[in-house]
């Protein structure tokens, strides 16, 4: 018999392929080159070239790879967010890697692989592809979490993340199997057309998939791993996964609910709204009493997942584009906040205690001011990026006749302002106590550069939100 090879054009997958090749190059160069510093720059170059490919794809018509992948405006928007996250994360990790002086090649390659997984999740239009991409992303993150091998907490975090993550993946897979059983399709459009009213089996499938997604983006009550993992992981990895994995997870989450389940919004809308309320309230309440800056940021990231979910629960076009805008804004401010944490952390401890923030502004006024901007943005103070993110998703909730959800969100924002301000107050207003040692801060140029970039965008996105919102709206148009 003759085997006809399918004619497949890999063009829509070009940005991911560029990153893959870069990752392989990094692994290869790592074995022959003595100076490891260039690996990070090579990877950085790869993200830039991949970004150019994304821009190039955006100019032409929408390309699609069978019923598996697409390079529509939505996928390209996610590509952009994820590439920015990867590029800044590489810079954040640069000095930590040099100091560590082991396995930089693997770190950089795994970070790129994780980025490929994230981009694939944004582009996937088939449950199988979503699952494979999710696994690439998760596996890379498990290993990156355990990279600080001199600290026991890092290994513990990696093991915890791995066990719970594998469990969540099983939920996801079972859900996908049930959906396939009830609709006979694996591609999202096919599921949407054939699911009908669904029935018990489809309902169980959707619920299990929801658990899988909720775990990956850290929604309560599936968030238990988050604080331990963010605290234990190297801070540059926490920064990367807190924004990257969230963006990718929400990308697939939103596409799944908007395409495959567009017809049954009445059923899942209220469930998602309840999940959003639970997540933001739980995250904010727990964050109030944290003494470690990294744990505080972990709980804050849970709360932010709740705010972002409001956009999804609203189920209208403003909600979709608002969620996309939120992911972008959140990327800059959270990367910045973690970047400052990297600067402040004592060598070897891998964490920053709140008490050691006292008097930072005296010795390092610029650093304290930068952190204050990120904190204000996370709290949602206008005119910074975080404010407009919240404005859009809460606006979408009002538009969808869920004003109560927007009110809960606003109350939660007010609650969160307490702990964000506490960080700022500790840095600014408390006098150093007598005998307090000087806050040791190293300011390597690459890290400073990364912070300046993040700061720049937090302000720019806040001052001209319409430019970015237009891109998000363009991307959300695919949901019709």
């Amino acid at each position: 018999m003759t085997i006809t090879m399918p004619s497949v054009s890999l063009m829509p997958y070009l940005p991911e392929i560029i990153l893959l090749v870069t990752a392989l190059l990094v692994l290869l160069v790592d074995t022959v080159w003595g100076d490891k510093r260039w690996l990070v720059w090579l990877a950085f170059l790869g993200t830039l070239v991949s970004g150019v490919a994304v821009w190039w794809l955006a100019q032409g018509p929408t390309l699609q790879l069978q019923d598996m992948l697409t390079a529509d405006a939505y996928a390209l928007f996610i590509d952009m967010v994820v590439l920015i996250v990867a590029a800044i994360s590489l810079l954040l990790a640069y000095d930590w890697l040099i100091e560590h002086n082991e396995q930089q090649g693997e770190y950089v390659a795994l970070l790129l692989f994780a980025t490929v997984g994230m981009m694939t999740m944004g582009a996937a239009i088939n449950v199988v592809t979503i699952f494979v991409a999710l696994e690439i992303l998760s596996l890379s993150l498990y290993i990156l979490t355990g990279f600080a091998r001199e600290r026991l907490t890092s290994g513990e975090a990696a093991l915890k993340y791995f066990l719970l993550g594998a469990f969540a993946s099983a939920f996801f897979l079972y859900g996908a199997a049930l959906l396939y059983g009830s609709s006979g399709h694996l591609d999202l459009i096919g599921i949407g057309q054939n699911l009908g009213t669904g029935g018990l089996m489809a309902g169980a499938g959707v619920a299990l998939l929801l658990v899988g997604f909720s775990f990956k983006v850290a929604l309560a009550p599936f968030h238990m791993w988050t604080p331990d993992v963010y605290q234990g992981a190297p801070t540059s990895v926490s920064a990367f996964m807190s924004v990257g994995a969230k963006a990718a997870g929400f990308a697939a989450f939103l596409r799944f609910f908007q395409v495959a389940l567009a017809g049954s919004y009445a059923q899942w809308g209220p469930a998602l709204a309840a999940l959003a309320v639970l997540t933001m309230t739980w995250g904010n309440l727990a964050a109030l009493r944290q003494e470690s800056l990294k744990r505080l940021l972990a709980y804050s990231s849970i709360a932010h997942a709740g705010y972002a979910l409001v956009g999804l629960a609203a189920g209208n076009s403003l909600g979709s584009s608002g969620l996309l805008f939120y992911l972008l804004a959140y990327a800059f401010m959270n990367l910045g906040a973690f970047g400052v944490a990297i600067m402040l952390e004592k060598p070897g401890s891998g964490d920053v205690m709140m008490s050691s923030l006292r008097g930072t502004s005296r010795q390092h006024p610029l650093l304290a001011a930068t952190m204050a901007v990120f904190m204000f943005s996370l709290a949602g103070v206008p005119p910074l990026a975080g404010f407009f993110g919240k404005l859009y998703v809460f606006g979408a909730a009002v538009e969808a006749n869920m004003a109560w959800l927007a009110i809960v969100g606003v109350i939660n924002s007010a609650l969160s302002a307490y702990y964000y301000l506490r960080v700022t107050v500790l840095m600014y207003m408390r006098d150093e106590e007598a005998g307090e040692e000087e806050v040791a801060v190293s300011k390597p140029p690459v890290l400073v550069f990364a912070l300046v970039v993040a700061l720049f965008f937090v302000v720019i996105v806040g001052l001209w939100p319409s430019v970015w919102m237009q891109m998000a709206q363009q991307a959300a148009l695919i949901f019709g």
Binding site: M1, I3, M5, P6, V8, Y13, L20, L27, L65, Q66, D67, M68, L69, N101, E102, Q103, E106, A109, L110, F113, V116, G117, T120, N126, V128, T129, F131, V132, A133, E135, I136, L139, S140, Y142, I143, G146, F147, R149, G181, G199, L200, M201, A204
Partner: protein, 166 residues
């Protein structure tokens, strides 16, 4: 009737072996029981007339995966013959919770759920060819992207296993 008896015997064998995997105190014996479990699953495939899957199951899971696991155990220092308890203080409660959940799920799956029943037909000729063509045709993207996943696992294993150089 004969088939039903065979099915019950094979299933029971698989379940008992699987239970031994998680309860045996030495890791090495657990790995051997895992081989037996995989063989039991292959037997189930045979009963379902999925000969190809059964052969693949034996070749990949019994042949490759189990051997790999046994190698990993033998090469890890201090793992051979070391007896460790496979449960902690919470074991009783976990067992109880699992049992309750299993009963609930069984009820849910067998009684509540209306599975669309499909009349069993003969396996179409050339099923294996169709499977192969689908893998490089319709499902070529996840098939290829899965190789990236394997590469990540490979790099990760090296990172975790490598001795510290300093």
């Amino acid at each position: 009737m004969v088939m039903r008896v065979v099915f019950v015997v094979v299933s029971l064998f698989t379940l008992v072996m699987a239970f031994m995997v998680v309860s045996h105190p030495t890791l090495f014996s657990s790995a051997l029981y895992l081989v037996a479990t995989f063989l039991g699953v292959a037997g189930l495939y045979v009963l379902l007339e999925a000969d190809f899957l059964a052969v693949v199951q034996v070749m990949i899971y019994v042949g490759a995966v189990s051997i790999l696991i046994i190698f990993a155990i033998m090469l890890s220092r201090g793992m051979m013959g070391k007896r460790t308890s496979s449960h902690n203080r919470q074991a009783k409660w976990v067992a109880l919770a699992s049992l309750l959940l299993a009963i609930l799920l069984l009820y849910f799956i067998t009684v509540l759920m209306r599975w669309p029943a499909v009349q069993a037909g003969p396996v179409p000729a050339g099923a294996i060819q169709m499977l192969g063509q689908d893998l490089v045709g319709r499902y070529v993207v996840p098939f290829e992207v899965a190789s990236v996943l394997l590469l990540v696992a490979l790099v990760g294993a090296i990172v975790l296993a490598r001795e510290r150089e300093i």
